[in-house]
Symmetry: C2
Subunit: 375 residues, 2 copies
DNA sequence: ACGGTCTGTCGAAACGCTTCGACTAAGCGC
DNA sequence: GCGCTTAGTCGAAGCGTTTCGACAGACCGT
């Protein structure tokens, strides 16, 4: 392997000159630069990552800290990871996958003190997450995926659950549905303070209230059986339901089969919309699921870019961004045929001032569902 | 951050002594060792990864080379990745995720010459894969996930497709099925020489022949619609079919819905077995899919361990290992009720000598399906 | 008492790069 | 023509480890 010395010798310049050609840290004349470039090409020179890292104190390695999660990653997380990896790679960085047990704070501290990571992405952030404090103390620039309860001074990217739920509810209300059941994660998951479950619960209540209809939430275990059980409960408590909004990818398949078991057709009798779902999974169902498609890989990319900003100039402002899931209408949602016969329900929607819409929301006064393509 | 110098000063020894305490490369007296340990603890010393890497010429970083694949990773690949990451982490190594376009050989060469990777795992290996040659030239120790056509001198781990198909077929034949259709990946995928599609195709033909029944393979696009289409073709060509074995996770859901559309019940009228499937996905279907569960995370772990062997002692023998998917019987397979009425079909199975079983196969002479738990 | 092997320790030279200070010319305003 | 800045280059000092050769002493058989 050729080193910088070899290049310098061949180009008849000093090592530092070669380095400056590479990094651009100081001006180098056109002529010299070309000589050096030629020498590098001839020797097939590649800078030695470790040496560069040691000297410059920057490893060009980013850490993706994922909790060791026995049940494994879902499609959304996977998309996130690959998105982050591509973005890092495109920027000339490497992404290391570090599984750290969520409560192995010592392990995390050790990892951080090895000075191998220029920065880190923290996945599956809890509302209260000690890992954040550990990494901050260790001086590791950080971007969260998800949010802690208190986000002051922290950069994060997360799904805009509020907007996502609103869009989903607007879609269903727009189709004439009034009795909509929200199937959330399990009761214990909610009790543990799992952010997405709590945020969507509240957003659902708010969105329904804005449309003047009553919210009903049912928790469900993350499984097909859990979904079926939740459906039974749902019919107990709201026999006239015409639509189900489900947070829970596994449960939604149980709901589908539960409906079929009751002799109900989707979407003619009951509409089903799945939250935070990947197209691949949505297409598995019959009919294919109308779903809020998670911005998995975009989240990954944005998180990496935000982190890189912090690295390039440490005065960079903190980056806090929410991305909504986008509605993709497939076969599992349709007009409500049954109870209420009233036109569409646009009026209720107007009662929500446009000011409540997130930054990039459509033109003022236009309800969200019209400003977003429903391909 | 404390350095080795600080530790050495505090412990009143030389830096090299500290180093020897850490690496064990030379004997150090009990007393000194404890002094040094104490100093390290007091200063909260952590070795600097880059410096160590530069001096020792070993980065303790492994690369996971995954092709940039727009349609993303499936559950099996994801499990593989997390398995590999945990194994690496447990061994004190880091795993970097390097998305490299499958035909960007220059990019790969560049990556390899940065000397950042001690070794690499190559995912989604094709039957002909130039990346292998590139990495070998660059002198990067390598373990393949999957196999090239010619595997001489190469270490790999892969799914034992042959055995997996055999076990699946044995399960169905044992249930009395005679007319079994194999739904493979798409015709173009097969034409491109995608290993798993070819290997399972051949294994299916062989397994069926051993049972004295005629094989029928239908290619299908990787989608629910593709599965439905394949099912139509299947019924055209074999109206009396009683079982479907499907390679293709997406297609299998289409097959299920296609069967329902024809008024056929699973498993009473037709049994369905899915190949290389994760439990999570299998549970989504109704009824839950009897499936060959892929050993995703075990593959990852084993691959990493094999790679580490090559690093520790470069004389290590090449490691070639196949892991079968394990049959998990759920609700989608059952006894064939319809055409043939003959007992079970054990006799045909015995014609395959046990010698063909891989290393850890059950006791000799016992058919595979009895030696494996069917929980 | 004498080489000879071990054990335990040290100092210094790498490892391959970045970066700082210094120096030389050249270009500029006045 | 004077000092001043600026462009372009060099040499050397790190960065924090590992590792090699050297060496002092202890322990051995003879």
């Amino acid at each position: 392997m050729a080193t910088m010395h070899d290049v310098a010798r061949l180009a008849r310049v000093s090592v530092s000159t070669v380095s400056y050609v590479l990094t651009g840290a100081r001006p180098i004349s056109q002529a010299t630069r070309e000589k050096v470039r030629a020498a590098m090409a001839e020797l097939d020179y590649q800078p030695h990552a470790m040496a560069r890292g040691l000297a410059s104190r920057r490893s060009r390695i980013l850490g993706l800290l994922l909790p060791i999660d026995e049940r494994g990653m879902g499609a959304t997380e996977t998309a996130f990871v690959t998105g982050a990896a591509s973005a890092a790679s495109a920027a000339g960085y490497h992404l290391v996958l570090s599984p750290v047990d969520a409560d192995d704070l010592d392990g995390l501290r050790r990892l951080a003190s090895q000075r191998m990571l220029d920065g880190a992405l923290l996945m599956e952030v809890q509302l209260e997450d000690d890992r954040v404090a550990v990494l901050r103390e260790a001086g590791v620039p950080l971007v969260l995926i998800g949010r802690t309860g208190d986000t002051t001074g922290l950069s994060y990217v997360d799904i805009d659950f509020d907007r996502t739920v609103r869009d989903a509810v607007a879609h269903l209300v727009g189709l004439g549905h009034r009795r909509i059941v929200y199937v959330n994660h399990s009761a214990t998951t909610i009790a543990e303070g799992y952010g997405p479950a709590l945020r969507t619960r509240d957003a659902f209540a708010a969105a329904m209230a804005e449309h003047g209809v009553e919210p009903l939430m049912i928790p469900a275990e993350d499984s097909a059986a859990g979904g079926r059980a939740a459906l039974d409960t749902a019919f107990d408590r709201a026999p006239d339901l015409t639509a189900v909004l489900a947070m829970n990818e596994s449960a939604v398949f149980g709901i589908l089969s539960g409906l079929a078991g009751r002799g109900l057709t989707v979407p003619d009798d009951v509409s089903v919309v799945s939250m935070v779902t990947s197209p691949q999974v949505a297409e598995l169902a019959t009919p294919a699921l109308t779903a809020m498609t998670s911005p998995g890989s975009a989240l990954g990319r944005i998180a990496v870019e935000a982190l890189l900003c912090h690295l390039e100039q440490d005065s960079a402002p903190i980056h806090q961004q929410l991305l909504p899931c986008t509605l993709e209408v497939r076969g599992s949602s349709g007009p409500s045929g049954r109870p209420t016969g009233d036109a569409a329900g646009d009026d209720e929607q107007e009662t929500q001032p446009a000011a409540a819409l997130p930054r990039d929301g459509g033109p003022r006064g236009v309800p969200a569902r019209y400003s977003r393509g429903e391909w």
